[in-house]
Subunit: 409 residues, 2 copies
């Protein structure tokens, strides 16, 4: 029996997807599940995308350029310039989704055994990309009591070692819904060049911003031309999660050159979706305003319902379409599994993501879950009814109102 | 200025794509280029694929399952069973093209610094995947004089060290067109478990086989259930290079579990193409017979023309749609660049891939090029006219008939 590599052993199962077998079993029993566990929006993808991929003149689905269709790189660069991010087409690499953009940025920066600092709770796949590349994630813990705000720069400095090469932030934040302030980002701007670290910002939720100020891109921080990489995606912006089209954007020419060579090794991103996304880039601004206002209404509903539940802590949610909330439970993994295995009301239940998978520090997130509010307001309201009933019935409930503890099978 | 990682520095530029700027410049001068440099077939993708992706009922392009659409895994497993490869759907992972399948197989097996043995000339991107994963490629050189046949097992054994974890073979072979015999493969079958190595076979050209015997899959070698991984793709089979859909197939459940977790980190392969490929799987066998016979005719034409050129060595070509041939030239990189920069006949030239990028051993392949015979017979014939003229005119020609040597700029 051949031995698996260390990275294969280390690679975590997705916290979002590892409950899938229990969900399948519940569905097989006829239970309807409200999926608040995964960031799959219910919004329709833009008609212009569909029109372009249905072009009857397409006959041979050929490789595209490894760095992406030149027309798409141009169009995307023009879009960034229109929102105040000054980049050229050569500074935009089309990637196979935002996942690949983050992975390429990390791999261009980090040798095996080197360290990347990431605020936690974090997008779980950063841990996966680190495992794949045999690099180490060093977490900076953020707290629900502070609305998961970016910690002071001294918290980052304390974690910098001779092996530290990069910082990854997600803004607006998955899984927390945090939006970082200018002042917080400017502290990182001063820190990164001082220690020669690359600041990688995952900004795929830029359009989902409920604050009054625009999202400050890492590429809008002065003096970071060589030290900043922005990662983006069409998955959330255009509700095109299955398209697998993203962008790595940087003014660091050497890093871009490396990323292009990484791209050549995998030949190209999907061609058909590049054609569709090029057309979708013309989507009018009104589409995004409408989508954002819908999510804002959902956010308001979610926060109102959660805050009315005894023992539940719902922080201030400023962006993206997630909230990480504290529940009066003993163990989030157990609770989320129990929701699928042992709970239903009128044949329905709700699926959540345990927050444990979003923390790198062992033991954190045990009483937290991530909620993706990607369902319409009626369904979201019903999901909150179900969660409220479930919390009342859950045998592992903690705090005031807890049931007598009963052992689990 | 932040330092790039060692893997970023090591990652080679694609030998197939690094001449692209010279090709662009030639096109800008109005020169028509016959592209024999890249394995992009000119064959139309199956109509069933286009029909499926144009389904007007598709409205939201959602994530698929990380391991691929269950229906596609089932259909692909059934296809393998129909050609004598006995696997279940759980033994088939849908990957983002064959590239990802090979990369996942290597990463599940190899730690940084460990070694994978690969016959050279090899598909250049194996070197790229190794660089990305910080692992070492140990080449076993094959020779044009032997039609690039697999060397005896003792050549592999000589290269096995305590750090060796895997062997990668490509059968039918890119860039050589070799098809490995049963006897050669059986030697590897005995070797792999003896040294506990994983045998990774890239079989994406299975349908392009001009020998009388069927291609022997690595999954048809007895006793290798724990040690064999097969990598496949729809790029060549269905002329769907831009679809980025491939398959990792193995009976090693632990390795499959690791590959699925790798897959979860990048969420899913492109959804729309999975829908299209599921439909394309029903393509009648007559399509493949027709395509193969067209390529056989091209192969015959190519070999006839090349063998009639003085100083050219064209080996026996048994499969895929490539040939690695020896030319009477001083330096393949220089020659291929010269074809684009300084040569034309009636406003036309030909683009080839220098073989140097397909060798890991420095200095090999200097007088060899890879020809992808992916153009129709008229265009292929014209390309050979151009190559013949070019060889007569090239200032760096060697051997009988060489021009006096003139220095290059």
């Amino acid at each position: 029996m051949p031995r698996l590599s260390d990275r294969a052993v280390r690679m975590p199962a997705s916290p979002i997807r590892r409950l899938a077998p229990y969900a399948d079993a519940a569905k097989a029993r006829g239970v309807r599940i409200y999926h608040l566990n995964i960031g799959q929006p219910d919004v329709e993808s833009p008609p212009s995308f569909w029109e372009a991929v249905r072009n009857p003149e397409l006959r041979v689905l050929e490789y595209s350029h490894a760095a992406g269709m030149p027309a798409l790189r141009e169009r995307v660069a023009a879009h960034y310039r229109s929102i105040g991010i000054d980049v050229t087409p050569a500074q935009v690499l089309v990637t196979t989704a935002g996942s690949e953009a983050v992975a390429f940025a990390m791999m261009a920066t980090l040798n095996p055994g080197e360290e990347v600092i990431v605020p936690e709770p974090m997008y779980a796949n950063y841990i996966g990309f680190a495992a794949y590349g045999s690099v180490e994630v060093v977490p900076v813990t953020t707290r629900i009591e502070d609305d998961f705000a970016l910690p002071g720069v001294e918290e980052f400095e304390r974690r910098i070692t001779p092996r530290t090469r990069a910082i990854v932030v997600c803004n607006p934040g998955n899984p927390t819904g945090v939006v970082y302030s200018d002042a917080q980002l400017e502290e990182l701007r001063d820190l990164a060049p001082h220690h020669d670290l690359v600041l990688i910002a995952d900004e795929v939720y830029r359009d989902f911003n409920f604050t009054d100020a625009p999202i400050r891109s890492v590429l809008q921080l002065e003096g970071l031309d060589e030290h900043a990489v922005m990662c983006d995606s069409v998955s959330k912006r255009f509700s095109l999660c299955g398209a697998r089209i993203g962008f790595l954007v940087t003014r660091n020419a050497a890093l871009m050159d490396a990323a292009v060579r990484f791209g050549q090794a995998r030949l190209c991103p999907p061609t058909l979706e590049q054609i569709g996304v090029l057309a979708a880039m013309e989507t009018p601004q009104s589409y995004f305003v409408e989508v954002r206002e819908e999510y804002r209404a959902r956010r308001d509903l979610l926060a109102r319902r959660l805050r009315a539940m005894p023992g539940v802590v719902c922080p201030n949610i400023q962006g993206a379409f997630y909230a990480t909330v504290r529940l009066p439970i003993d163990d989030a993994d157990r609770f989320c599994q129990w929701l699928l295995e042992s709970f239903e009301r009128d044949g329905e239940t709700v699926m959540l993501a345990p927050a444990t998978g979003f923390y790198q520090t062992p033991g954190l997130g045990l009483d937290e879950v991530r909620i993706a509010y990607v369902l319409g307001q009626d369904k979201l309201d019903r999901s909150m009814d179900l969660l409220e009933s479930a919390l009342a019935a859950y045998p592992g409930r903690t705090g005031a109102g807890a049931l007598p503890v009963t052992p689990h099978a």
